[in-house]
C-alpha cells in the first residue's frame, strides 16, 4: 500500500473502494481539514443532542466550474451556500454533512486545497462538518468534484422569516453589491477569460442575520439571491406572498467593474448570481433599524433600501430606471446567455 502523494498523486478508483486506500484518503485529507470531536469518532453517523426549539434543515449540491475562482472555490462555496440557506430561515447553523463525488484523475493537491478551504470556511462560520461520504467515479463520468452538503440549525424563538410574509408597504433591503460572484466565476470560464479584480462575494451570512435579528426579530422575509440573481429572488417572493414590488434602480448597489463586465457580455446585474448577499423584507417601522444594523456589520457595509412591496394582483416586480422610466424585472427564460450585438 503506497502512501498518499499529496503533491503529485491523483484520485484513483481505489480511493472510493472502501479499503485501505480510502481510509488513507479520509485520514490524510478530510479528517485533518475538518477535525472536530463528532467526526473524529469515525462512526457512520454523528450523534448529538439539540436544545428544545425549531430546527431548520437544508441540502445543496455544488457542481461549479472552475473549481477555483477569484475569491473562493467549490469547497468554501459548499459551506457558505448551505450555511446561508439555514441563515435565511433565521437559524443559527449547527452542523453540516458533506458528500463528495470525486472523478478519477483529480489531482490530490486540488482536492486537499479545496477540502482545506472548506474546513476553514466551516471553522470561521462556527459550524462543524460532523459526517461525510466519499465516492469515486471513473474518469469522464464526473467534473473533477461534486460536493453535497446538508445542514441543520436552530431557529431562535420569535424569528420566522418566510417567503409568503411580504406585505404591501414593507421595505426591501439588500445587503450589498450585486453580481460579484457571477462575474468572478465567468471571468475564469473557458474561452471567456477577461481581466478583472472582482472577487466572488461568497461568505456565510448567519452573523449578519444575527445582527439584524438582534434589532428586529420579526424579519418578514430573508433570502439570498444566488442563481437567477436578485430578479429571480424577488419574483419568487412576489409570487409566494401575492404582492408586487417597486424597485429604484439608482439605489441598487453594483460595483463599477461588475457593471462594465455585464455591459460587455450583454448581461443584467439583476440576473447575475451572488453567494454572499441577502435580501430582507421588513415592516416599515423596522426598516431603518435593520438597515443600520446591516451597515454596521462587515458583510453589510454597502446595504441599501432598494424598494418597497406594493399591492399588485399581477405580482409584478417593477423597476424605476435611473433614466426616468419604468420596466418590469422578470425571471430569466432558461440560462443567461450573452447577446451577440
Amino acid at each position: 500500500m503506497k502512501p498518499l502523494d499529496r503533491t503529485r498523486g491523483v484520485v484513483e478508483m481505489a480511493h472510493g473502494g472502501g479499503g485501505r486506500a480510502m481510509a488513507r484518503l479520509i485520514e490524510s485529507i478530510f479528517l485533518t481539514s475538518f477535525a472536530n470531536p463528532l467526526l473524529n469518532q469515525r462512526n457512520d453517523q454523528a450523534c448529538f443532542a439539540v436544545e428544545k426549539g425549531r430546527l431548520a434543515m437544508t441540502t445543496d449540491s455544488y457542481v461549479i466550474q472552475p473549481l477555483f475562482f477569484p475569491g473562493g472555490d467549490i469547497g468554501a462555496l459548499s459551506v457558505h451556500g448551505t450555511v446561508n440557506d439555514l441563515a435565511m430561515a433565521g437559524a443559527v447553523p449547527l452542523h453540516l454533512s458533506a458528500g463528495f463525488i470525486l472523478e478519477e484523475g483529480l489531482p490530490l493537491a486540488d482536492l486537499a486545497r479545496l477540502v482545506d478551504s472548506m474546513g476553514q470556511a466551516a471553522r470561521a462560520a462556527g459550524v462543524a462538518i460532523v459526517t461525510g461520504d466519499t465516492k469515486v467515479v471513473e474518469k469522464g463520468k464526473g467534473d473533477g468534484v461534486f460536493i453535497t452538503t446538508t445542514g441543520i440549525g436552530i431557529i431562535p424563538d420569535g424569528v420566522a422569516p418566510s417567503g409568503e410574509r411580504a406585505r404591501p408597504g414593507d421595505a426591501i433591503l439588500l445587503s450589498g453589491t450585486l453580481g460579484d460572484h457571477g462575474v468572478a466565476v465567468m471571468s475564469r470560464r473557458e474561452n471567456l477569460s477577461f481581466e478583472t479584480a472582482i472577487l466572488s462575494d461568497c461568505a456565510s451570512l448567519h452573523g449578519l442575520v444575527a445582527a439584524m435579528v438582534a434589532v428586529a426579530p420579526d424579519l418578514h422575509v430573508l433570502r439570498d439571491p444566488t442563481r437567477g440573481g436578485l430578479a429571480a429572488t424577488l419574483n419568487e417572493i412576489a409570487q409566494q406572498s401575492g404582492v408586487g414590488m417597486e424597485l429604484v434602480e439608482t439605489a441598487i448597489p453594483v460595483k463599477a467593474q461588475v457593471r462594465a463586465a455585464c455591459e460587455l457580455l450583454g448581461l443584467d446585474p439583476l440576473n447575475v448570481a451572488n453567494e454572499g448577499k441577502l435580501v430582507a423584507i421588513v415592516a416599515p417601522k423596522d426598516a431603518e433599524r435593520v438597515l443600520a444594523a446591516m451597515q454596521a456589520h462587515p458583510l453589510g457595509r454597502d446595504a441599501a433600501r432598494i424598494g418597497t412591496v406594493i399591492e399588485d394582483a399581477d405580482r409584478f416586480v417593477v423597476l424605476k430606471t435611473g433614466f426616468g422610466g419604468t420596466r418590469m424585472v422578470d425571471w430569466l427564460a432558461g440560462e443567461q446567455l450573452p447577446r451577440i450585438c
Binding site: N191, L192, T250, A256, R259, A260, E263, D268, D314, F316, V318, L319, K320, T321, G322, F323, G324, G325, T326, R327, M328, D330, A333, G334, L337, P338, R339, I340, C341
Partner: protein
C-alpha cells in the same frame, strides 16, 4: 462607466423628454420604427415609453438577427451537428431558438451533438486549429455588423490552411429588409399603417455608413435618423424625427456621428465584398422571402462554405398560422393583439420570431413591458 453613463443620464433624459413633448404637435400622431433589436432593447430596458408624449409611438422592427433567422436554417444547422457530426460553434443567443420540429441547438446538444457557444468566429477558428481531425463549422448569423468578423475568420482559416473549418453563412442585409417593409402594400397604401420615419441602425451603420439609407428617405419620403444604442441617443433621434416630420423633411440625419460616417468602414466593406456575394433571395422569419437580402460565400472561398461542403439541401418551415409576428414587425399589430402572446407563446416556449430572443419585440414586451400592458398603457 466613463463614456457610457453620460448617455444614460436621467436629468438629460428629462430635458429631452420636455423638448420632444414641446415639439410634438398635440393633434398629430407620430409612428416611428426602430429597426434594430439593440434600440428595442434600450427602449424597454430604460423604460423610454414613459418619457414620450401620448402621440409618439414606437414600432419595433425586424432588426434582431436571431429573430429573423427562419426555422429551416436552424434545422440545417442541427443537421450539420447531428447527421454530419461536425463541431458546431455558435453565438450564445442562437442556442435556445427552436427549429421546425421544436428542437433547439441546446436540445440537440443535450442529446449528444457537439455544439459549442463561442464569443467570436475567431474562437471557432482556434478550435479548428486545435483539433485538425474534427470538422468545425461556425454558424454565422447577423446583419452587417457581424459579417466582417466572419469574413476575417475565413481569411484567417485560408491563411492557416485549415481544411477542417467552414462557415454556415446566414448573414443578412439591413437595407433590403427596410425596403421590404416600405414596399409592403399596407405601408405603401397611405393611411393603412402609419410609418412616419425610422431610427436607423447603430452598429450596422458603423460598417455600411449612412449613405445606403439616402435612397429610402428620398424614394419613400420617410426620414431616417441613425442613432446609437444608448437611451439618450434614442431620445435625441426621436426628437430629430419629430422635427423632420413637422417640417415635412425626409432626410438621413446622423445622431450617432461619434461612430458613423457617410461611407462607413471602407476596409470592412472591401473585405465583405471580397468574400461574399448576394443571394438572389433569402427567407426571413416573419417577413417571408426577401429578394437580394442575404449573403453567400463566393465560389473562390467555396472550400469554407459549409452549405457546399456538406451539400446541404435548403429546408423551409412555415411560421405558425396564428402567429402575428409578420404583422408586428411591420407595425400592423402590437404583441398584445396576438392570440398566442403570453399564453402559448412565451420566452420559455417561443412560437414566433419576435419571442425567440430578448431583443425581439414580443420578448421585450413580455419581459420588460407586461406590467404596462396590465395597466393599460401602450408599450
Amino acid at each position: 462607466m466613463k463614456y457610457v453613463d453620460e448617455f444614460r443620464d436621467g436629468a438629460l433624459a428629462q430635458g429631452l423628454a420636455g423638448a420632444i413633448a414641446r415639439a410634438a404637435r398635440p393633434q398629430r400622431r407620430y409612428h416611428f420604427m426602430e429597426f434594430c433589436g439593440g434600440h428595442t432593447h434600450a427602449i424597454f430596458r430604460y423604460g423610454l415609453a414613459d418619457l414620450l408624449p401620448e402621440g409618439v409611438r414606437m414600432i419595433h422592427g425586424p432588426g434582431c438577427p436571431v429573430c429573423v433567422l427562419p426555422m429551416g436554417r436552424i434545422d440545417m444547422a442541427i443537421q450539420l451537428a447531428v447527421q454530419h457530426g461536425v463541431t458546431l460553434c455558435t453565438y450564445g443567443d442562437m442556442l435556445r431558438v427552436p427549429g421546425g420540429k421544436g428542437v433547439s441547438l441546446l436540445t440537440a446538444k443535450a442529446q449528444g451533438a457537439d455544439i459549442r457557444m463561442v464569443y467570436s468566429p475567431a474562437d471557432a477558428v482556434a478550435l479548428a486549429q486545435a483539433h485538425p481531425d474534427r470538422p468545425v463549422v461556425f454558424f454565422a448569423i447577423g446583419f452587417e455588423t457581424t459579417t466582417p468578423p466572419t469574413a476575417l475568420a475565413i481569411k484567417q482559416a485560408a491563411a492557416l490552411g485549415l481544411a477542417n473549418f467552414s462557415v454556415f453563412c446566414n448573414h443578412v442585409l439591413t437595407p433590403s429588409a427596410i425596403q421590404n417593409i416600405l414596399e409592403s402594400p399596407e405601408v405603401r397604401e397611405l393611411g393603412t399603417v402609419p410609418l412616419d420615419g425610422f431610427i436607423g441602425p447603430a452598429h450596422v451603420s458603423t460598417v455600411i455608413g449612412s449613405r445606403p439609407y439616402e435612397f429610402f428617405a428620398e424614394e419613400y419620403r420617410r426620414p431616417v435618423v441613425i442613432a446609437g444604442f444608448e437611451p439618450l441617443d434614442v431620445m435625441q433621434a426621436i426628437l430629430m424625427l419629430v422635427r423632420q416630420v413637422n417640417e415635412d423633411r425626409f432626410e438621413v440625419e446622423n445622431e450617432f456621428a461619434r461612430a458613423v460616417s457617410r461611407d462607413g468602414n471602407a476596409k470592412a466593406k472591401a473585405l465583405v465584398a471580397e468574400l461574399f456575394e448576394l443571394r438572389r433571395s433569402f427567407e426571413w422569419r416573419g417577413l417571408g422571402r426577401v429578394p437580394y437580402s442575404a449573403l453567400a460565400i463566393k465560389a473562390a472561398y467555396g472550400a469554407f462554405d459549409a452549405e457546399r461542403r456538406f451539400a446541404l439541401e435548403p429546408v423551409s418551415v412555415p411560421d405558425h398560422k396564428a402567429c402575428a409576428c409578420g404583422a408586428i414587425l411591420r407595425g400592423l399589430k402590437t404583441p398584445a393583439d396576438c392570440a398566442l402572446f403570453g399564453t402559448a407563446c412565451t420566452p420559455e416556449t417561443p412560437i414566433g420570431s419576435c419571442m425567440v430572443s430578448a431583443e425581439g419585440a414580443c420578448a421585450a414586451w413580455y419581459s420588460y413591458g407586461r406590467a404596462r400592458g396590465a395597466r393599460g398603457k401602450p408599450s
